[in-house]
Symmetry: C2
Subunit: 102 residues, 2 copies
């Protein structure tokens, strides 16, 4: 039986958070997480907060999905259905990655 060896994919999304909007940004991120974690291909996610104030990327999300296709379809569905807007000025820099060295 051909193993359906899925090469997992990692979404890393460094957020540039406008001053005073950290709490609002976390609430928005959690709404997105609650939507996405029900979608096929979702594996895990971790939201990281910088331990130093004023870092370039105060929040960084690192999520693992079964495939680029699973992630893309889930985020397109979220864009249509979530109905929650991100805080003004919150800038995301998402890309998909594979692990190449440990």
């Amino acid at each position: 039986m051909e193993s359906n060896k899925k090469t997992n994919i990692t979404l890393i999304n460094p957020f540039e958070v406008p001053e005073g909007k950290i709490e609002e940004s976390i609430v928005y991120w959690e709404a997105c997480r609650d939507f996405l974690k029900k979608e096929p291909g979702y594996i895990s996610t971790k939201l990281h907060k910088s331990i130093k104030e004023g870092s370039k990327f105060e929040l960084i999300n690192v999520a693992v999905w079964e495939s680029p296709k699973a992630f893309t379809e889930a985020s397109q569905k979220m864009a249509k259905e979530l109905g929650v807007l991100p805080p003004e000025g919150l800038k995301a820099n998402p890309s998909l990655y594979s692990v190449i060295s440990e």
Copy 2:
């Protein structure tokens, strides 16, 4: 007995990689990893490569350390002792993070 509950810390370092220097940057990163993984407090590291060429951050390192102090001391020691220079133009954006939501 007071448990020495260590709150691990996560270093996330998005790299801006100059065109044509991806291989050189990976070799440089692996020299740093080989140095750092012998230092006290090192737990794990994963180098992520963007699956799409031309991403803002073509490489992102995500490493876990026992404490900010362990990481800071190890990287200061590396700066003095490694003796390998980063490829010209390679721009690092390192910060220390804690996981706040999963």
